[in-house]
C-alpha cells in the first residue's frame, strides 16, 4: 500500500441533480416546499477503487458519462469524494482541458505566464522555461497576438507545451489531444512516451482504444460510475471493445426496427387475435424489423390469458392459467417479460363432505382408505380392479374403473367427468380417458414440469410488454377490417377459429366450453386454495377458482369464479377443441383449404384446432416466427441468462 502513488479507496461522488438547477431563490423556495431538494441525487462514481504504483500508465475507458473525467477530477482535487478517500503522493500536472484558464484577450506570451501560474508555477520558473515552451508550441511570430485569434489546434499546442514543460510525477490527461494536426499529435505522443520512460505516472482518458493500448500498461473500465474491469491494459481494452461492438450492433438493430415502424408504411403482418400466440409472433416480427398490426374483436388484449385487476386482485377472466414448462428456453423467454412467483398448483377435490388432494397421490389414497404405504395402495387398487373383471371397456366408466378401481372412480372421476361432458359416463366413449395417472408419493404438485409459476402482476402485463411499440386495434373484426383496408398489409397471421375464416363452408368444428360466475365476497379467504374441484354430480359447477391465492394475495376481499361446463353451440366462446374422429377429419379438410392461402398463416389453439398449454403456444409461435422471419430465436434463450442481440 505504501508504495502506491495514488490510492483511491471506495470513492463515491454524489451530485445533487435537483439543486444543480436551482439558481435562484424562487426556485429554491418552490423546491423546498415540494420537498424536492434532496431527492434527486446522482452518484457519478460508485465505490471506485484504484491503486497506482509509480511509473505505471493507466488508461481510463468507458462511454460518455461513465465517470472517467469525474474520477480524474477527484484525483486532481477538484472534486471532493462524498464517501471514501483519495490519497495522492506526488505533484500532479492536470491536463483535463488544454489551456483551461487561457484568457482569450491576452496574448500568447501573457497566457503562458497566466497558465503557468494556474498550474502553480512561479514566475521565475516560467521565465526559465519560456523559450522551450515557445519552441515546442511552434508559435513563432504569433507570440504577441491575442489568442482569441488562434485556431483550436494552436491553442491546444500551447496548452500542451505549458502543461508538460516539467516532468511531473503524475500526468493526468483527459482526451485533450483530439485536436491538433498529425505532426503535433506525434510530437505530443513522443513527449508523453519520453515522460513515461522518465518515470512519470500517467492517468490517461481516451476514446481511442488503440492509443490506450499503446501508451498504457494498465486500464480501468468504468460504466455508469462503476468499475467493470481493471487490470492489464490489453485485456481490459479487448473486453471493452467487444462489449462496445455488441452494444453498437444492438443499437443499430433497434434503430432499424424503429425505422420500419414508420406510420404510413404498409404493414408486413396483420395479426388477427391479440392472444399469447399472436403477441409472441408480433413481438418477434417487430424485433426483426417488420411492421405489424394486431387486431382483436374483444375489447382487451391477451385473449384467454387475459387477467383483469379487480379490487387489487388479478382475476383470470377466462379460467385459471398456471404457467408450467419443462423447456428452459421457453422459461427464459417468458421471464424476460415478467417475474414469476413460486406458485405450485396443488388442487383439492371436494366430494360431498369429504376432501381429497389432487392429483391422485398417497395423500389421496391415505384419506380414502386409511392406508400408509405405496404397497398397500397398489394392493388395494389391484383388488378393486380385479373385482370388476373388465376385459374390454365399452365406455368411459368401464375404462376408468379398469384403470383406478371403484373408490377413486366414484368419488373423484365420475361426477366431475359427467359434469364436464354433460352426459352419463356410460354414454361417453372410452377413448376420452386413455390413462389416469396415479402417483405413489406424497406429492401434491399437480404438474410434473421443471418450471412453474404465476407472473407477478398478471398475464395481461406480459402481453402488454410483448406488444410494446406495435399497433393494436381492439374491437376490430377481421372481416370488416379487411373489407375497409384491403391493401394495408402483406400477410395475415390468423389465430381465430379456422372454420370461421372459411365462413363455416364445410361445417362447424365443435368445442367444449365453460361458463364462469364470478363474484366478489366480503371475506378474506373463501376456500384456502386457488383451485377446488367439486366431484359429485349434485353440485352444478365443476370447480371454484379463488384468484387471490395464485399470487398469495392479502387483500381484504376475495374474488371467486364458479366454473360450469356447458354444451357448446355455434356462436359461443370456444374453449377446448373436441379432437374426436369427426372433428379431426373436418379440421383436416379446413387445413387443406388453408394450404392454398399462401398469404395467410394459421396458428394458435383455434387456428390449429388443438389444445395447447401456454408454453406450447409460445413455442409454436416462436417456431412459426423462426420459419416466417428466417432467423434463429429460440437458441438465443438456451443459456441460463439470455442475452438479447
Amino acid at each position: 500500500m505504501g508504495k502506491n502513488i495514488i490510492d483511491v479507496d471506495h470513492v463515491s461522488i454524489r451530485f445533487n441533480l435537483a439543486s444543480q438547477k436551482v439558481n435562484n431563490l424562487k426556485e429554491y423556495a418552490i423546491k423546498l416546499a415540494k420537498h424536492e431538494l434532496m431527492f434527486q441525487e446522482f452518484l457519478a462514481l460508485k465505490d471506485v477503487n484504484l491503486h497506482v504504483k509509480p511509473g505505471e500508465a493507466w488508461g481510463l475507458i468507458g462511454t460518455n458519462g461513465s465517470g472517467k473525467s469525474t474520477l480524474l477530477k477527484t484525483i486532481t482535487g477538484i472534486l471532493k469524494p462524498y464517501q471514501g478517500t483519495v490519497k495522492v503522493r506526488g505533484q500532479i500536472a492536470p491536463m483535463i482541458e488544454l489551456g483551461a484558464g487561457f484568457d482569450m484577450d491576452l496574448t500568447a506570451r501573457e497566457n503562458i505566464f497566466l497558465n503557468g501560474a494556474v498550474l502553480g508555477h512561479s514566475n521565475e520558473f516560467m521565465e526559465e522555461h519560456f523559450e522551450d515552451i515557445v519552441e515546442f508550441a511552434g508559435l513563432g511570430k504569433f507570440l504577441d497576438s491575442p489568442i482569441k485569434n488562434f485556431s483550436s489546434g494552436m491553442k491546444a499546442r500551447l496548452g500542451f507545451a505549458v502543461a508538460t514543460m516539467v516532468d511531473p510525477e503524475i500526468l493526468i490527461c483527459d482526451e485533450v489531444l483530439s485536436v491538433g494536426d498529425y505532426q503535433f499529435k506525434k510530437k505530443c505522443n513522443e513527449r508523453m512516451e519520453e515522460m513515461l520512460s522518465g518515470g512519470t505516472t500517467l492517468l490517461y482518458v481516451s476514446h481511442n482504444i488503440d492509443s490506450v493500448k499503446k501508451l498504457c500498461t494498465h486500464a480501468l473500465w468504468l460504466d455508469h460510475g462503476e468499475v467493470i474491469m481493471s487490470g492489464e491494459a490489453k485485456e481490459v481494452c479487448d473486453a471493452y471493445s467487444t462489449r462496445q461492438e455488441q452494444i453498437f450492433r444492438i443499437e443499430r438493430k433497434e434503430k432499424e426496427v424503429k425505422k420500419a415502424q414508420k406510420p404510413g408504411n404498409k404493414y408486413d403482418y396483420l395479426v388477427v387475435g391479440a392472444g399469447l400466440y399472436g403477441a409472441v409472433f408480433a413481438h418477434e416480427a417487430y424485433k426483426a424489423g417488420k411492421r405489424c398490426l394486431v387486431i382483436d374483436k374483444r375489447n382487451h388484449i391477451g385473449g384467454n390469458i387475459y387477467t383483469e385487476n379487480i379490487s387489487k386482485i388479478n382475476v383470470h377472466k377466462y379460467g385459471a392459467h398456471i404457467f408450467h414448462t419443462s423447456k428452459k428456453p421457453i422459461w427464459n423467454y417468458v421471464n424476460e417479460f415478467a417475474g414469476f412467483n413460486n406458485y405450485i398448483n396443488a388442487p383439492v377435490a371436494v366430494y360431498k363432505d369429504e376432501l381429497y388432494n389432487l392429483p391422485f397421490n398417497m395423500n389421496t389414497f391415505s384419506k380414502l382408505w386409511g392406508v400408509r404405504t405405496p404397497e398397500e395402495v397398489k394392493k388395494k387398487i389391484a383388488e378393486q380392479i380385479a373385482e370388476l373383471n373388465i376385459t374390454e371397456p365399452k365406455n368411459l366408466e368401464e375404462q376408468a374403473l379398469s384403470l383406478v378401481g371403484r373408490d377413486v372412480y366414484e368419488k373423484l372421476v365420475k361426477g366431475y367427468t359427467e359434469k364436464q361432458w354433460g352426459r352419463d359416463c356410460r354414454e361417453l366413449p372410452a377413448f376420452i380417458i386413455k390413462r389416469l395417472p396415479l402417483r405413489f408419493t406424497y406429492d401434491n404438485n399437480y404438474f410434473n414440469d421443471r418450471y412453474q409459476g404465476i407472473p407477478e402482476g398478471g398475464y395481461t402485463k406480459i402481453i402488454k410488454q410483448l406488444l410494446e411499440g406495435i399497433d393494436v386495434k381492439l374491437e376490430t373484426d377481421y372481416e370488416t377490417y379487411v373489407k375497409e383496408h384491403p391493401d394495408s398489409f402483406e400477410k395475415v397471421l390468423y389465430t381465430g377459429p379456422i372454420d370461421e375464416y372459411f365462413k363455416y363452408s364445410l361445417g362447424h368444428l365443435e368445442y367444449r366450453t365453460v361458463r364462469f360466475e364470478t363474484e366478489e365476497l366480503e371475506m378474506e379467504n373463501y376456500q384456502g386454495n386457488a383451485v377446488v374441484n367439486y366431484t359429485d354430480r349434485e353440485v352444478p359447477y365443476t370447480r371454484i377458482i379463488e384468484h387471490k391465492h395464485f399470487e398469495f394475495g392479502k387483500q381484504p376481499t376475495t374474488i371467486i369464479s364458479r366454473e360450469y361446463s356447458e354444451e357448446w353451440k355455434p356462436g359461443m366462446e370456444p374453449y377446448y377443441p373436441v379432437n374426436d374422429e369427426k372433428n379431426n377429419e373436418l379440421f383436416g379438410k379446413y387445413r387443406e383449404l388453408a394450404e392454398k392461402e399462401d398469404k395467410v398463416i394459421f396458428g394458435g389453439r383455434l387456428g390449429n384446432y388443438k389444445y395447447y398449454n401456454m408454453d406450447q403456444v409460445i413455442e409454436e409461435a416462436l417456431l412459426m416466427a423462426e420459419r416466417e422471419l428466417k432467423r434463429k430465436i429460440l437458441e438465443n434463450y438456451a443459456g441460463s441468462k439470455p442475452l438479447e442481440e
Binding site: I78, A100, L106, E110, G116, G120, N123
Partner: protein, 262 residues
C-alpha cells in the same frame, strides 16, 4: 499546525497566480483604449466635476472644499462597490477553470479585490490633482491614509468572500446586492454632510455603517488634517476583521460544494 503550514505553502505556491490575475485584470481593463491607465485618474475626475456641478448648489455653504470632500467619499465607496461586485462573480466567473484544474478558490476572490485596490490607488492621482487645483493644504496626516486603505481592503475581502460563496448558490444575490449598494451609498455621507440628516439616522449611521468609519477617517487625514478619533479608528479595524472572519468562515464552509453548482 501542519494544515496551517500547508495552507501557507499553497498560498506561496499560488502567489504568482494572484499577480498574474491582477495584472490580467488591469491589462484588459484599458487594452485598446488610447489613454490606457490615464483613465483610472481621468474617470473619477470627470465624474467628480459632474457631481460637483450638480451638488455644490445644495451643500456649498456647509462644506469647505466640496470637490475634495466629494472625491474622498466617492473614491472609497467606488472601490468598495467595484471590489465586492467583482469578488461576488469571481468564483462563478472562473467556473470553467475551477472545473478543470485544482486551484484554491479564494485566489480568485482575493485577486479581484486586489486588482480593484490597485485601480483605486492609481485613481488617487485624481485626488492629488483636485487638491492642487483647489489649493488645498497638504497635512502630514495624509501619510497615514494607507492605514485606512488597509482597513477597507480587509473589509472588502470579507464582503467579497461572503458574496462570492452566496453567488454560487443563489445567482439572485447580484440583483439584491445592487439595491443594497444603492441604499448604502445614500446612507453614507459622500456628497452631503452627515449633520444634515435627522439625529436618529445620524446615530444609526455612526453606529452601524462601516463605510462611514472609513470615509470619515480618510477625510480627517486628507481634508481636515487631523488624526481620526479613536472610536472610528478602532471601529474601522473591528468592522474589517469581523467582516473578514464572517466572509472567510462562510467561504470555507461551502467551498467544497462550489464545484457542484458552477
Amino acid at each position: 499546525m501542519s494544515t496551517f503550514r500547508y495552507r501557507v505553502n499553497t498560498f506561496i505556491q499560488y502567489k504568482d497566480l494572484i499577480k498574474e490575475l491582477v495584472s490580467r485584470d488591469l491589462k484588459l481593463k484599458y487594452r485598446r483604449s488610447f489613454l490606457g491607465y490615464v483613465w483610472s485618474v481621468l474617470n473619477p475626475l470627470l465624474i467628480m466635476i459632474v457631481m460637483t456641478v450638480v451638488f455644490s448648489a445644495m451643500f456649498k455653504r456647509n462644506i469647505e472644499n466640496y470637490p475634495v470632500y466629494l472625491l474622498c467619499g466617492r473614491m472609497l465607496f467606488e472601490f468598495m462597490t467595484n471590489s465586492t461586485n467583482g469578488a461576488m462573480r469571481s468564483v462563478t466567473g472562473n467556473a470553467s477553470l475551477l472545473k478543470k484544474t485544482y486551484i484554491p478558490k479564494y485566489i480568485f476572490t482575493l485577486a479581484k479585490v486586489t486588482s480593484c485596490l490597485l485601480d483605486f490607488i492609481f485613481s488617487l492621482g485624481a485626488l492629488l490633482i483636485v487638491m492642487v487645483a483647489t489649493g488645498a493644504t497638504f497635512h502630514w496626516q495624509i501619510l497615514l491614509t494607507p492605514l485606512v486603505i488597509v482597513q477597507l481592503y480587509i473589509f472588502c475581502c470579507g464582503v467579497g468572500f461572503l458574496l462570492a460563496q452566496l453567488h454560487v448558490f443563489f445567482r439572485d444575490i447580484q440583483y439584491i446586492y445592487k439595491a443594497v449598494t444603492t441604499a448604502w451609498m445614500y446612507l453614507t455621507p459622500i456628497f452631503y454632510p452627515l449633520e444634515q440628516l435627522p439625529d436618529i439616522v445620524q446615530l444609526l449611521i455612526k453606529a452601524g455603517n462601516p463605510m462611514y468609519y472609513y470615509v470619515a477617517q480618510f477625510r480627517d487625514m486628507v481634508l481636515y488634517g487631523r488624526l481620526p478619533g479613536p472610536r472610528i479608528f478602532w471601529g474601522g479595524w473591528v468592522f474589517a476583521f469581523v467582516m473578514l472572519f464572517i466572509g472567510v468562515w462562510s467561504f470555507k464552509k461551502n467551498k467544497d460544494k462550489f464545484i457542484l453548482y458552477i
